[in-house]
């Protein structure tokens, strides 16, 4: 009997564990279901755009994209062909890269130095300066267009890539400094103190400690800034378009697919995917930096 009881007890424990496990499994299943549902809802507009970009104009203007799944099937690559045949799209793509890469790298560097100084160096007026820089976040960039364009005209920069690099650096810096300072400021103080005791100066601890430990923040910021610059139309239209249309980025070329009365709108879906391709590739390429935590275990030893 007793053995029976003894045998039953673990069995009961096992079933209890099983039921706990199954209930937690059920919980996870519900969670997964919710996440998947959210993802589907999130993706619907993009999927709709993708399908629309593959449908001919006559069909597009008479029925919704969801009807594309039922026969008769009307799919075409004509929209993509027209986008690629738009005059100067190749040059515009190169221009976009020439604008977006430096306009991402420059503010990232400047912001990294500034963020380090704001978090680990002590100098008079540090907090005030930081508040001023962050306060610039609320200045809408549209208000700066005219004075800055005047400045560029005096310097002879209008129509050149350098003008847009400088402008985007200025527009991107407040947020970049804010984000990086918050990240660097939350790094463990002990790391910097022990480095200082070992004789490291600020330059060393910036390059050896702060930068490697802040890589996830850099990656996130780089993606934000790159997307902002890549998708920008207004800034380049004003600083470049007025003086030298040859240097205009892809957004300008894409906007020009539509004529002044709105004709040609059906090409925009295809154009959106063409312009989305590079940022998407970049995102997937840098994705692992989002997930990887680098700070964990940094204080060991």
């Amino acid at each position: 009997m007793s053995t029976l009881v003894k045998q039953q007890a673990p069995a009961a424990a096992a079933t209890k564990a099983l039921s706990r496990r199954s209930s937690s499994r059920r919980g996870r299943f519900v969670l997964n279901l919710v996440v998947v549902a959210l993802m589907i809802i999130w993706a619907v507009p993009t999927v709709g755009l993708l399908i629309s970009s593959l449908r001919p104009q006559s069909v597009l203007s008479s029925s919704g994209w969801w009807t594309a799944f039922a026969p008769p099937y009307h799919f075409t690559m004509a929209n993509y062909r027209d986008v690629f045949h738009q005059a100067g799209i190749g040059q515009a793509f190169v221009n976009s890269l020439l604008i977006a890469v430096p306009a991402t790298v420059i503010p990232l560097f400047v912001a990294a130095f500034a963020a380090y100084a704001f978090s680990w160096m002590t100098f008079p007026g540090r907090d005030l300066l930081f508040v001023v820089v962050v306060g610039l976040l609320v200045v809408p960039l549209q208000t700066t267009l005219i004075p800055i364009l005047k400045l560029f005209a005096d310097w002879g920069l209008t129509g050149q890539f350098l003008a847009v690099w400088l402008a985007h650096t200025g527009y991107g810096l407040p947020f970049a400094v804010y984000l990086l300072r918050n990240f660097m400021g939350s790094l463990p103080r002990a790391v910097f103190e022990s480095a200082a005791i070992d004789g490291a100066n600020h330059v060393t601890s910036f390059f050896r400690l702060a930068v490697p430990m802040s890589l996830p923040a850099f990656a996130a910021l780089a993606i934000f800034q790159f997307l902002f610059v890549w998708n920008d139309l207004l800034v380049s239209l004003i600083y470049i378009g007025l003086a030298n249309p040859d240097n205009l980025p892809m957004t300008a070329t894409i906007a020009n697919l539509v004529n002044s009365l709105g004709g040609g709108w059906y090409l925009l879906g295809a154009a959106a995917f063409v312009s989305m391709a590079l940022p998407l590739a970049l995102f997937f390429g840098l994705q692992r930096y989002f997930v990887r935590g680098i700070v964990g275990g940094a204080v060991k030893g």
């Binding site: 004075p147 539509v258 004529n259």
Partner: protein, 428 residues
């Protein structure tokens, strides 16, 4: 820095003088000295229009060796305002309307064209009203590169051919449309959706009605802000729109608000037709089903009938004004070329545009030929009123036309709202 500047200043003067000498020397030469020069052009044209414009300047580029750098943007107003304020401007630019032309000309930003164009030829080839719209203080500052006639009434000749007996008056139109409605569900096709500028097809309706019930003088005073919206002369047009148009619209006003202006005419081609008539400008032939059907056999138009006969022959139109900000030799040469019949014929032939030049006659079909004739022979020609109003007024007009069309505002509500918008819009 200042020391540097002081040292450089005499040098700069020498360079400028030298450059001046060179340019004055060479301007007496032939066109070949433009080789390698560029002309920056900004306009609102994109897509097929951009392609047509570039095609149009191709012979000039070949002949002179100069190059046209074109930027298209539909935010021309923003770009030019910023450019004018900061002094960075393209050589040639499409101007949003006569209002901005006068503003930039008074500010000394636009260069007069009287010495650039062959004025006598230009005036003899162009409709006087269009020449007038490009003038400010007696000087020519802008020319129309492209024009459109507004207020054409389109029909499907297979349903009923109005060609033999086009309605002469509004009453005639309403009775003919009623008699020939046949299987059609309604008289009017209407669509006022157009993205951020939704409502403009409705403003065109009102403008055409005001022009023909109150005449060109009231029309001009109205867009200049000198006549109130609730004035009986303007109110009459709104009431006519509410009863004779909205009351007989395919699918009702709510449907019209949800229909893009480009697709508004589609029910006309259906069998049985949804509606009989579509009021729209000459450029509609480039849209939706008009594009896939044949002119004359599948669709045709008659001009907007007169309402008050003392104002007979008034026509409303729109167009793309072009002005010159920098008078470089290349820009002058291009400007001179653009208004010639030879250049205009290139765009005209491609289609989708009318020329302001009477001698550009290479129209691809009878329909564009007839619309061009209306433009050239108009007794009095007025520019699109909403486009001539201040931006704030224009926006309010668009919005209230949407509200009036879908029934969320009555005529009186819309007019009193527009009255209060008028008080602020003309202040600056």
């Amino acid at each position: 820095m200042s020391l540097w500047l002081r040292r450089l200043a005499p040098l700069a003067v020498v360079v400028v003088v030298a450059a001046g000498c060179v340019s004055t020397n060479s301007s007496s030469g032939d066109d070949s000295d433009l080789h390698g020069k560029t002309v920056n052009v900004i306009g609102t044209w994109g897509g097929d229009e951009q392609a047509a414009f570039l095609k149009m300047v191709e012979p000039w580029e070949k002949q002179t060796g100069a190059k046209v750098k074109y930027t298209g943007t539909r935010d021309i107003n923003t770009v030019l305002t910023t450019g004018v304020a900061s002094g960075v401007l393209p050589d040639l630019a499409g101007l949003p309307g006569p209002g901005q032309l006068a503003e930039y000309a008074k500010a000394g930003k636009l260069q007069p064209l009287d010495n650039v164009l062959d004025v006598n030829t230009y005036q003899s080839e162009t409709a006087p009203a269009l020449v007038q719209l490009g003038k400010s203080d007696g000087k020519v500052y802008g020319v129309f590169i492209k024009a459109a006639v507004k207020g054409l009434i389109w029909y499907n000749p297979k349903v009923h051919d109005y060609g033999a007996n086009p309605p002469k008056t509004w009453t005639d139109l309403m009775s003919q449309a009623g008699a020939n409605q046949g299987a059609a569900k309604a008289v009017w096709c209407l669509g006022v959706e157009s993205g951020a500028s939704s409502g403009w097809p409705g403003t065109d309706w009102i403008e055409d009605l005001v022009l023909r019930t109150a005449g060109p003088q009231v029309y001009t005073n109205w867009y200049e802000g000198k006549v109130k919206w609730s004035d009986p002369a303007i109110k009459k047009a709104f009431q006519l729109y509410a009863t004779d148009v909205l009351g007989k619209t395919y699918g009702g006003g709510k449907n019209a608000v949800a229909t893009n202006f480009g697709n508004a005419g589609d029910p006309m081609f259906a069998n049985p037709p949804g509606c009989e008539l579509l009021h729209q400008a000459s450029f509609i032939t480039g849209f939706s089903q008009f594009k896939s059907h044949t002119a004359v056999t599948d669709y045709n138009f008659f001009p907007f009938p007169d309402i008050d006969l003392q104002y007979a022959g008034a026509v409303e139109g729109a167009g793309d004004l072009f002005g010159m900000f920098h008078d470089t030799p290349a820009a002058k040469s291009l400007m001179k070329y653009l208004v010639t019949a030879a250049a205009q014929d290139i765009w005209v032939k491609i289609g989708g545009a009318l020329s302001a030049n009477k001698n550009a006659a290479d129209y691809p079909d009878d329909i564009s030929k007839r619309s061009a004739a209306i433009l050239a022979n108009a007794k009095s020609f007025v520019f699109d009123a909403s486009d001539s109003m201040p931006t704030a007024m224009n926006d309010a007009f668009w919005k209230d036309m949407v509200a009036l069309t879908n029934g969320s505002k009555t005529v009186d509500q819309a007019l009193s709202d527009l009255d209060s918008a008028q008080k602020d819009a003309y202040a600056s």
